[in-house]
């Protein structure tokens, strides 16, 4: 394969992240996610298993209802796929959307 062919390939990367802040992916974290995702040159799809959302659309991301502990599969396709996944993982799992973990007994089973 020549170097020219490689440029035309779409880079696709996938990872799974877990929601670690107690309040889950409510509107403000969803906006942080969309703002960050939008900075990268790639398409981003986020799946909760039940629902699939465009990672760059706030209306879509708000519909995921990802509660504390939910695993989200993030798929990025495009030149900056890997950078996008690294940054989004940092936001969700390390920075935890700048929010605290759950308080004890807060998330009662439904």
């Amino acid at each position: 394969m020549s170097a020219g062919d490689k440029i035309l390939e779409t880079v696709v990367r996938e990872t799974t992240v877990q929601i670690k802040n107690g309040d889950g992916l409510h509107m403000r974290p969803a906006m942080q996610f969309v703002d960050l995702a939008s900075q990268f040159d790639c398409e981003i799809t986020v799946s909760s298993g039940r629902t699939e959302a465009d990672g760059k659309s706030i209306m879509h991301m708000s519909m995921l209802a990802a509660t504390y502990g939910t695993q989200l599969k993030i798929r990025a396709a495009g030149p900056q796929a890997q950078e996008a996944l690294d940054a989004l993982r940092e936001l969700v799992e390390v920075r935890m959307f700048d929010e605290p973990p759950p308080k004890p007994n807060e998330n009662q089973p439904q």
Partner: protein, 157 residues
């Protein structure tokens, strides 16, 4: 979570008198107080808290709908009320367009999952163009109740 589980239909405001965001929020909180779903003494404080939250980032997500919300101890479970405006209200929405339906959501301090489940339901239906069109056409509390119950019964219409 179905609309029927968290929307207070008795408090629906079919035509908001206010033309501005803060006035519309106050009207919707009052409607919940009058319907007996929030204690009267908490009304002013809740209105203030919703406006404060709205000032941090607009909940006008586009498509003519805003979903102002706040957590408050007065709410025992997630509680919502819908208000409509044929004239449109400036909610500083993301798409910079006026808002024709305001869905105010008050969530309890505990159990954040309930809040997310209510939001999930609201946004799933708002994706649907037909739902948004029908929502804008509702002129009476009865029409709105019919629409939301219809949506509950046909989650993917």
């Amino acid at each position: 979570m179905k609309f029927d589980e968290f929307v207070c239909f008795e408090a629906t405001v079919p035509e908001l008198q206010s033309r501005d965001r803060d006035g519309a929020i106050a009207e919707l909180v009052s409607a919940l107080v009058q319907a007996g779903r929030l204690p009267a003494h908490a009304g002013a404080e809740i209105t203030k808290a919703v406006i404060k939250r709205e000032n941090e980032a607009s909940t006008g997500m586009g498509k003519g709908v805003a979903i102002p919300h706040v957590k408050h101890a007065a709410a025992k479970d997630v509680l919502a009320v819908v208000g409509q405006s044929t004239a449109g209200i400036d909610f500083a929405a993301l798409d910079e367009r006026p808002v024709y339906a305001v869905i105010l959501l008050i969530s309890p301090l505990k159990n954040p999952d309930r809040h997310l489940q209510a939001m999930e339901n609201v946004f799933k239906h708002l994706q649907n163009e037909r739902f948004r069109k029908f929502l804008r056409q509702c002129r009476t509390p009865e029409m709105l109740e019919d629409l939301l119950k219809e949506a509950d019964e046909h989650p993917s219409w």
